[in-house]
């Protein structure tokens, strides 16, 4: 149970960063932290006591496998996260070029 609580704490740290920081780069980092915490939480739910990896071995039987379905779902999620990070970086660079700042309160004021 304490592992779940720690993982949830990591998610809350990400929310704290996204809510209070005014730097665009820090906000991107907080979104990344939240993504890590969610991915890790789903894999934590799927772990089986004494389980082994979900790959068939050539000689002998690998009977006690962990659940492979959440792993397949998270695998796609990680790659999408990489694409989204790249897009957020591109967006913030564009904003910097236009407003010459990363501070979101100033960006809001400049927009009129």
């Amino acid at each position: 149970m304490i592992v779940y609580i720690l993982c949830f704490t990591l998610f809350l740290v990400g929310i704290y960063g996204a809510l209070t920081k005014r730097d665009l780069i820090k906000i991107i980092l907080s979104l990344g932290i939240m993504g890590y915490a969610v991915n890790l939480m789903i894999i934590l739910f799927a772990y089986k006591e004494g389980g082994s990896f979900a790959i068939l071995v050539k000689d002998g039987i690998n009977s006690n496998m962990v659940d492979p379905l959440p792993q397949a779902l998270i695998l796609t999620s990680i790659v999408i996260e990489l694409g989204i990070t790249a897009m957020l970086v591109a967006l913030s660079i564009r904003l910097f070029q236009k407003y010459k700042t990363f501070d979101i309160t100033k960006i809001r004021r400049l927009s009129g």
């Binding site: 304490i2 609580i5 720690l6 809350l12 890790l40 659940d67 492979p68």
Partner: protein, 185 residues
């Protein structure tokens, strides 16, 4: 040591690293501290027997680090000093989030304890995956055979995200990718 002890150790490190990354002023140090969190996740996947995920997460972390350093650690970016966040706002946020954490403990008590999974849908995949698809790696069998339609959607999302990044970054005078017009100036 049991797996749970290792995971508590790694998660403690990750929480520490994320707090440091959010509170540091120096951008390069913040980006490197995010590396602690990502590599910690990769290590935790290894302990949780998710080998494919460990490899992908490790590479993802390196790639994200390169993108962030390449984009943000420029010459003029760190001269701009962002204004400090409001102290009252920070304190209120921390108190509310701590309240949420304390109140959610009961919910985690209701869950089955660590090591006893909730999901039981994948029994068919584990038992028949090798025979039905011919792939020894069950995770690959799921993402490319049983749930390949899911992967098609994922490929589309990745394509759209990359297209969005290229569209945002496209300069006005170039009529295609930004690579072509570089020779002119």
């Amino acid at each position: 040591m049991p797996v749970e002890t290792w995971l508590i150790f790694i998660l403690g490190f990750m929480i520490l690293g994320s707090i440091i990354a959010l509170e540091l002023k120096d951008l390069l140090s913040a980006v490197i501290s995010i590396g602690i969190v990502g590599l910690g996740v990769s290590l935790a996947f290894l302990f949780l027997q998710a080998l494919d995920l460990a490899i992908v997460q490790f590479l993802f972390e390196i790639f994200a680090l390169i993108i962030l350093v390449r984009a943000f650690i420029g010459k003029e970016y760190h001269i701009q000093e962002p204004s400090r966040s409001h102290i009252v706002q920070s304190v209120v946020t921390i108190v509310v989030l701590l309240l949420i954490l304390v109140m959610s403990i009961n919910m985690f008590k209701a869950l089955p304890s660590f090591g006893h999974p909730i999901f039981s849908t994948a029994k068919h995949y584990v038992e028949n995956g090798g025979r039905e698809t011919g792939a020894a790696n069950i995770v690959t069998a799921i993402i490319l055979d049983y749930r390949a339609y899911d992967t098609l959607g994922e490929v589309t999302v990745l394509f759209t995200a990359i297209l969005g990044a290229l569209t945002i970054l496209r300069t006005k005078k170039s009529n295609g990718l930004a690579g072509g017009d570089n020779e002119a100036n």
